[in-house]
């Protein structure tokens, strides 16, 4: 049985498509039934629409990639009227990923999402690609505490806080979010990173730095999940470089309740199905009835 629970929501399996890598599902639903996923974290949604960043937005690295998309999205109202109508017909949990700049923008967005059909809200305080926002709340625990507390006040739905690996202290950060009323934490978002075009003698990205993801970050993400899961009581959702069911098992053994699959959606649109099938077969082989049996086992 792959079922897991986060907040007051049950997931039929622990595989969630990560925000920013799955659009709002439509493109992937052409390749497999996205209703088979445990959940879908929407693209980073902001109160008002955003065009995202200019210049190069993607750059491949060894064992990974960097992105500087900059929260391009249609805005929450448009999402609710359009993509959410499509998503709510799918038999999976819809987790609205809430991004923003100023605190006020986050609160307005949270209020809209709270009265919508989304199943959960994932508060993104970890986007490295928007100025004055996002990640500035994800560095210091006291800032994360404050925004989580204020969002908690206006949100009745289950609330996940998505953490940045760029936090000063990832364990204190997770504890601060727990104290402020989060129902779960998800980690990690991308690592703030730099790439340089030596021919042009310039940074590849207009913002200079961008977010690093992919299999190259997995061992660090796994270590952070392990440390966090040992120290908090609420569930931890593991994210970072998952490409196979074996990676998922590692995250669960490190203490994660569920996982999010990110960049690898780009290398095979139905990779989440391979992962779900692989996990199911593994559990049957090892006679594991419930993932709790191996959670945090190391």
């Amino acid at each position: 049985m792959m079922e897991v629970a986060i907040g007051n929501i049950k997931f039929k399996n622990p595989i969630i498509a990560a925000s920013g890598t799955f659009s709002n599902g439509r493109e992937f639903d052409e390749y497999f039934d996205i209703g088979k996923l445990g959940g879908i974290a929407t693209t980073g949604l902001t109160y008002k629409r955003r065009d995202g960043n200019k210049g190069i937005r993607l750059y491949e690295t060894r064992s990974g990639m960097m992105n500087s998309i900059g929260l391009q999205n249609e805005g929450i109202e448009e999402f609710l009227q359009n993509d959410m109508k499509f998503l709510k017909e799918k038999s999976t949990n819809i987790i609205a990923n809430l991004g923003g700049g100023e605190l006020e923008e986050y609160i307005l967005g949270a209020k809209l999402l709270n009265k919508s059909d989304v199943d959960m809200i994932e508060l993104n305080i970890s986007c490295p690609n928007v100025k004055k926002g996002g990640m500035s709340y994800g560095i210091k625990s006291k800032d994360a505490y404050e925004i989580t507390r204020q969002i908690r006040e206006v949100v009745d739905k289950s609330l996940i806080v998505k953490l940045s690996p760029n936090a000063e202290n990832i364990v204190e950060m997770a504890l601060a979010c727990e104290d402020a009323g989060a129902d779960a934490v998800s980690l990690v978002n991308t690592f703030n990173a730099l790439a340089i075009d030596i021919g042009k003698r310039k940074a590849i990205f207009d913002n200079k730095t961008a977010g690093l993801s992919g299999p190259g970050i997995k061992p660090i993400a796994l270590r952070m999940v392990y440390q966090v899961a040992q120290n908090i009581k609420i569930p931890t959702i593991g994210i970072g470089g998952i490409v196979s069911w074996m990676d998922v098992v590692e995250f669960i053994m490190a203490g994660a309740t569920a996982v999010q699959v990110g960049s690898s959606n780009f290398i095979k649109p139905d990779i989440c199905m391979d992962i779900i099938t692989g996990l199911e077969e593994y559990m049957a082989r090892e006679n594991i009835k419930n993932l709790e049996e191996i959670k945090g086992i190391i």
């Binding site: 937005r57 998309i69 690898s264 780009f266 290398i267």
Partner: protein, 242 residues
């Protein structure tokens, strides 16, 4: 449901120029000129991202791809031999509109010539080719049954006009100009065509997914941000904010 990645054996491989490879695989299905496939010529996740390669030709249930051997991914594809497998996702993108009865100029820069061959085969009317290369021409001979005039430019001066391909074209002769090549060449062409003839561009950009999800390959248009992979790769120049 669409197929996810399929695996196909390489049934033909040749070098058209020192760093230009042509491979063919069997395929059956609808493929439009200007569409592309995401290709992996390696197993595993290193390099992480697939390579977006346009369809150079599709005939007798065989697809041809021209590949410029340049980085880690294309070098791995270059190492493959006959009978080795590549993985493909596609066809992707919207491709070209097939026009008939118009006077059309196809303007290619380097490897940008690839999608224009399959397009030339599908069009009727008067079609001329203008092709620019660094060193030496390739693929041009194969256009000849399908087009009227051929104009070549090379940086080296080894064949054709020594200089830019954009030096050669008189836009007023045409109803439509279609181009694929380096952005610097296409921008120069846009200047030349501006106010004189319609221009369509097949764009290239760094891509991760190829299916319109990652928002990595977006371009700015007069109607908002569009993805090269799904909304394009072909755009009317008049719609783009370059």
């Amino acid at each position: 449901m669409k197929n996810s990645y399929i695996h196909k054996k390489i049934i033909f491989k040749e070098k058209l120029a020192p760093n230009i490879l042509r491979i063919k695989v069997e395929y059956s299905g609808q493929v439009k000129p200007g569409q592309f496939f995401m290709i992996r010529g390696w197993s595993g996740v290193e390099p992480l991202l697939s390579r977006a390669i346009s369809v150079a030709d599709y005939e007798n249930e065989q697809i041809s791809f021209l590949i410029e051997v340049k980085g880690s991914g294309t070098k791995l594809i270059d190492k493959l031999g006959l009978g080795d497998e590549i993985s493909l996702l596609g066809p992707l993108g919207q491709g070209f509109n097939i026009e008939s009865g118009k006077k059309i100029a196809l303007v290619a820069g380097g490897i940008g010539i690839a999608p224009l061959l399959y397009l030339a085969k599908k069009m009727d009317g008067k079609v001329d080719l203008y092709a620019g290369f660094r060193e030496k021409e390739y693929l041009v001979e194969e256009f000849k049954p399908y087009i009227d005039e051929v104009h070549i430019a090379t940086d080296s001066g080894k064949t054709g006009h020594k200089g830019l391909v954009t030096d050669l074209i008189s836009p007023d002769k045409y109803d439509l100009v279609i181009t694929c090549g380096p952005m610097v060449m296409m921008k120069a062409l846009a200047q030349i065509c501006s106010g004189r003839v319609d221009l369509e561009m097949s764009l290239e950009n760094n891509m991760a997914c190829g299916i319109g999800a990652c928002m990595g390959c977006t371009v700015e248009t007069k109607t908002g941000m569009k993805t090269v992979c799904k909304n394009g790769p072909v755009f009317k120049e008049s719609e783009l904010i370059l």
